[in-house]
Symmetry: C2
Subunit: 767 residues, 2 copies
């Protein structure tokens, strides 16, 4: 736990004091991104201490050769790794002939990092005494432009405090980088070309195998006390992958020498000629100028916050937590490009590889759907539609036929790139989340057009998979689903996971409903799709047989659905009664012990109750929550949010609040002692859900918004906005009342605790 | 399948004709060994074609750093690999200045390999036309001395047929070898010292990490037409790991130039100073001389065959098969050294690593017990006793306490060195086989002394493990064993595998019985052990609670025990109805598909019926055989033998014969298309059991031998010998009668088909 290390603040993430042991954690927490690229908060200058260097470009990946101990049939040959991109931020510094290195200074004082989330700008400042006795004050400002998303900006100021100084700024760009997460220590980038002229430089490199080309660029301006001195490099070093300029500037005591570095990437995903594109980006950046770039950045973030902010009054840590989550989600994905998706670590690290997990459909889409234009969610759905052929191929590798689709557990381009049989081959519930997201999109946006245009083909591929994957048990005279891993990855290769079976049945039922609806209402789409997928009524009847006769494990004694067959055979000792020294079990116990224990990594049966709340009574939810929650260890980042929502639904506000804090400050407080590897991005959308769906009780039923507002006793009030079908509804919940107001042009009716409430444009309704 | 490639012959394995594609397979099949070392049938001379070079020393291994995709808690850091030892057989050859290379000859004719199993000698001969037009005839003889088990002998003869020749023999020894099976392509040997004098040379090298030192040595003698020409090297090349001599000899047409090379290894397991030891071995070898060494070899093998041969009349392929199995078992392990064990590939390859699996206890001990002095089986038991502390440590790593022992799945020195969670952590039935072997040893030999001296401590550690590993299911009000892999590795992480549960119960019951017996009859051993293991009656009562109340999955409908919970949920399509194109499923199907199928890799429930035949009626055996055999794909080498025995027990002789052929000729006919990786050594003991226990129906009950002789219709007769309590009983079965005769000094009573028969020394009894 990192608790109290990050200063509580409503709008900023703040670290005070330099602690070499915290550098890697802070590099994760202070990461910046603009949807198109992002980077860890590495120092610009040389640093000899422990660091994890990382800069990432959306959509650019590397298929690393798979590493396994024992090969299993069906494993992919390659694993798409999040690819550390060339370094554009680097600025080596020499001061009075000493290499400036924070790890080597005599003293470092007033060290402060501030990630100003309101502005989308990362600040760092400190004073230091060098080995040579010179005291300096340093201020660094860095941001990745939202407006020009190929451009990053650094303003690096040094002021000598106790003497004059000769400062050499040595900015560089370097494609000679390696991945922390590499299976075989191979190089992933092949340098192609290094060019420079005046104060600009370009390193063009290409990924091996995938052949993405990226031009990394920089442009440097030197200022003295804020005025451009029109400096040129006094020296240029280059090799085939790196170029470094040296600028020398003599500064009198208490004067300030500044380097402004523009940098970034232009890539072959977006440009024919990446170097020309880079030149254009530099030209545009220079035309706007540093001050305006910074001002524009603040404006652009203001626009994002205008829509997506959640305010919490009376609880600074809770406020900081939710804003950190919303900020990171927006840094990671802005929804402009349907080729992109939301990686589990965003731009903050490399772990896990791949950019797309079922997290997108189960956790992220609700956030983007409610805080952005609905096109964003549609882009996320389209991403999967575009990968349908690969999902069919993937299913084919596992022996499925006739257009059955199995979406991969982890992917960059639609191909499976995970290799652990119990997950890769068996955590098939992911397929259901993809169908559920289509349903959820339509439920929320009312936009049915996606289904006849694209979604129905996906639903058919998924229904085919479930039909083929189910087994008819003559013994039970029902269909069973054998050998799966549910969302609770602390069980492997189990039979009849309730969540999976329930979702499978629902997927088939939903697909059949949509086929019937499209047949009636979208005749030409229907003909096009049916001739493409070659589906007939006989096949649909076979699907229905599976859905209508699916087996669900159930305990009469406890009156609950069982997580899987045999769950009751376990030694049912509650987490509460487990010795604390045994936690977290994923660090303390061998894998077999975890597997035969009753402990649940993340919501599993309860995930089903979350998706299909309407299918069950509140009493059923309560019974299942009371049965499963005591065995849940929440060792997945995706767990506390679902429990927070359900605790709130069950009016257990203290529990809901505890889960909320855990989900919202997971990384800030480093609950799992692993934040130095990067932040948990996708679960951050779960934090948003905890407030809006949990405390706010927001649901969409019959094309109408419903709320059951609740508020933790610790808070004075909270507010959020929902983009509901192109009207923006603001909800402000206080201890005794809830206020609704509307930015839009036509009234809407919402239900508050079951009571109809009319909200008219630009007027406040208090309930 | 390799069928008909190896010529049918009663006593030899014969290959005729040179086929470069078969070289690696033949290298496995023609391997030689003497229990202390062994090697693949690699050519002595340089060969540029595809080859798998391998020479191995018993007890010398390397802990290779584990390679996994996704680390699981509990995995060992290192995996003990079968270690390719330095090369001592190498003899490069130049003939009229051309490097002789079978892959480059213009023609190769009359190529023949013969592994004469009666003699224990490997012969190779051929004629060839070199690129330079010279025709030569070559004869090579090689063997590893049984009498001097550190010594190998090569006699290499070349006769030019169509002209005179200058022949340069360039024998070498070389520690610069690598393992085919290496996780990280690292070097495993560190060269220490290279020495030579006269015609002798020594390369001393040490394994990294384990620090085994081995001196590899050679001594060379050159002969012309059979007479020693007292040649000295004309050239000596050496570096820090290799030394190579050159001998030049001019040979007239049709004269014969021979090199006799003595070589081998002396190792720090057996000697303080390995080089001095090597010098002694050479001196002894030279003293005896080539002709006598060869003669002694034939005599030594005759002694082995005298006791362990099985004859089969009227079926050459069946005869060749069983002799190949007996021969390979004796090449691999002779039982002299309790530090050694029986690796799954013996000295024929590296695959799987480790030298000790449960194969030893379940399959090999019966063979060694009946064909060797009983000390050999006792040595194999002692091997596990000596590793008890490591087994307790191993259990500790998985969370078990208080002296519970879990023997490793794979080991060299007692430490677990396998890393696949579903096997390493869950294939725990192996522990039961180790207890069963103690019971079986006592049953067969009548030697109880092993139990108070050593065995009881092992039984206690194992009983403690099962007690702790079982879980009390309040739901069933019985003990269950969750999350295991049975002998059928096509199921992973199942609950209540019948075989495992049954064995666990038996282990506890048997341990308690032995504790009680030792308490009464071996008081001082009892006190010693009890104070060492700190066991009291309360603990024993806890064990008994588990054993007395163990749950076994059972189907009323089928009246069979179920392989595991949920087996009946599977789609029960019999192997017979499976499309042939889908076989073998381990090559054609993805792992998840195999897991959810009903297909059984090897006897599982039936393995339990094999161990505990007496606990069940013949009707029960028949019911279970009929239920499980149709789902068994026999994709493990350990499967057909058990089925052959049970088919014979059930009087299904055609089926028993088919299984017998499959087990006995598994490698010769290359059923699994993998013999080039090495032979399946441990399953060869199963072949022996198929005849003796299957066809012969041999059992030991109440200290007496029982037989129910049967004979396949394809055979005229077969015979085998049994060392039963230091008397040798010979059994000859013919279509209509069985003859018994005894080498020993006191009569014994046996039961034949339930009828008492008295066999007196040196007289033949016909039944």
């Amino acid at each position: 736990m990192n608790q109290d290390y990050i200063k509580a603040d409503n709008w900023s993430i703040i670290e005070e004091g330099f602690d070499a042991e915290r550098v890697k954690s802070s590099e994760s927490l202070f990461s910046i991104g603009n949807g198109a690229m992002g980077q860890r908060a590495n120092f610009e200058e040389y640093y000899s201490g422990k660091t994890f260097q990382g800069s990432y470009i959306a959509g650019i990946y590397y298929p690393d050769k798979t590493k396994v101990g024992w090969w299993k049939n069906g494993y992919p040959e390659y694993f798409a790794k999040v690819l550390n991109a060339p370094n554009w931020i680097g600025i080596d510094i020499e001061i009075n002939n000493e290499v400036f290195d924070l790890a080597k200074c005599k003293t470092v004082a007033n060290f402060k990092r501030e990630l100003n989330m309101k502005e989308g700008i990362y600040y760092r400042s400190f004073s230091a005494t060098l080995q040579n006795g010179l005291e300096i004050s340093v201020k660094v400002t860095r941001f990745l432009s939202l407006d020009i998303d190929e451009l990053g900006v650094i303003n690096f100021e040094i002021t000598p405090l106790n003497g004059d100084a000769k400062i050499v700024y040595k900015p560089y760009i370097d494609a000679g980088v390696h991945n922390e997460d590499a299976n075989w220590e191979e190089k992933f980038w092949e340098p192609l070309n290094v060019q420079h002229s005046n104060n600009e430089a370009f390193v063009t490199a290409r990924t091996f195998k995938t052949h993405f080309t990226a031009t990394t660029f920089m442009q440097n301006t030197i200022l003295l006390n804020g005025s451009n001195v029109n400096a040129s490099p006094i020296n240029i070093e280059k090799n085939n992958e790196k170029v470094q300029f040296s600028y020398e500037i003599n500064v009198a005591k208490e004067q300030t020498a500044t380097i402004q570095k523009l940098g970034g990437y232009t890539v072959s995903l977006n440009h024919e000629n990446t170097q020309v594109a880079a030149q254009n980006v530099i030209a545009e950046g220079l035309k706007i100028g540093y001050t305006n770039l910074k001002e524009n950045q603040i404006q652009a973030w203001a626009k994002i916050w205008e829509m997506s902010d959640i305010t919490i009054n009376g609880d600074v840590k809770a406020q900081q937590g939710i804003r950190f989550n919303i900020f990171q989600l927006n840094q990671t994905y802005l929804g402009k490009d349907s080729r992109l998706n939301i990686g589990p670590k965003g731009f903050t690290g490399e772990k896990y590889g791949g950019s797309t997990y079922w997290d997108t459909e189960a956790y992220c889409i609700p956030f983007y759907m409610a805080t952005k234009d609905q096109q964003v969610a549609r882009n996320l759905l389209t991403y999967r539609y575009n990968q349908l052929d690969k999902a069919i191929e993937n299913a084919g590798k596992l022996g499925f036929k006739n257009g059955a689709a199995l979406y991969p557990m982890v992917t960059m381009n639609g191909e499976e790139c995970h290799n652990e049989w119990e997950i890769t081959f068996e955590e098939i519930h992911r397929n259901g989340a993809i169908a559920f997201a289509i349903f959820n999109y339509h439920r929320f946006t009312g936009d049915y057009s996606y289904i006849p245009e694209k979604g129905l083909e996906v639903l058919i591929g998924i229904a085919r998979f479930w039909h083929q994957r189910a087994t008819y048990s003559t013994y039970r005279n029902q269909y069973v689903i054998l050998g799966v891993t549910g969302p609770n990855e602390y069980e492997n290769n189990v039979n009849n996971n309730f969540y999976t079976n329930y979702l499978a049945k629902w997927c088939i039922d939903y697909a059949v409903e949509q086929i019937n609806k499209v047949e009636k209402e979208y005749t030409s789409d229907y003909s096009r799709i049916m001739s493409k997928v070659n589906l007939d009524n006989a096949e649909i009847a076979h699907w229905k047989a599976v859905a209508d006769n699916m087996y669900f494990p159930y305990s009469k004694e406890h009156d609950v659905y069982l997580q899987q067959d045999g769950f009751l055979d376990k030694e049912l000792v509650k987490v509460h009664d487990l010795d604390k020294s045994q936690r977290p079990i994923n660090q303390k116990w061998s894998w077999d012990r975890i597997l035969r224990s009753p402990y649940i990594k993340q919501a599993d049966t309860l995930q089903g109750f979350y998706f299909f709340e309407d299918h069950f009574t509140k009493e059923q939810l309560e019974k299942h929550f009371d049965f499963y929650e005591p065995f849940t260890v929440h060792e997945s980042s995706l767990s506390p949010c679902v429990h927070s929502i359900q605790a709130a639904t069950l009016d257990r506000m203290e529990q809901a609040y505890t889960f909320y804090l855990r989900t919202s400050r997971l990384d800030l407080d480093d609950y799992n002692k692993e934040v130095e590897e990067g932040c948990h991005i996708t679960s951050m959308a779960g934090t948003w859900m905890s407030i809006v769906e949990g405390f706010g009780g927001m649901r969409v039923k019959n094309d109408t918004l419903h709320f059951e507002p609740k508020i933790p006793s610790q808070w004075q009030g909270y507010s959020f906005k929902i983009n509901f079908r192109n009207q923006i509804l603001k909800v402000e919940v206080q201890q005794n009342e809830t206020k609704f107001s509307l930015e839009g042009n036509k009234e809407i009716t919402v239900f508050v605790n079951g009571k109809e409430v009319l909200v008219e444009p630009n007027s406040l309704v208090t309930v």
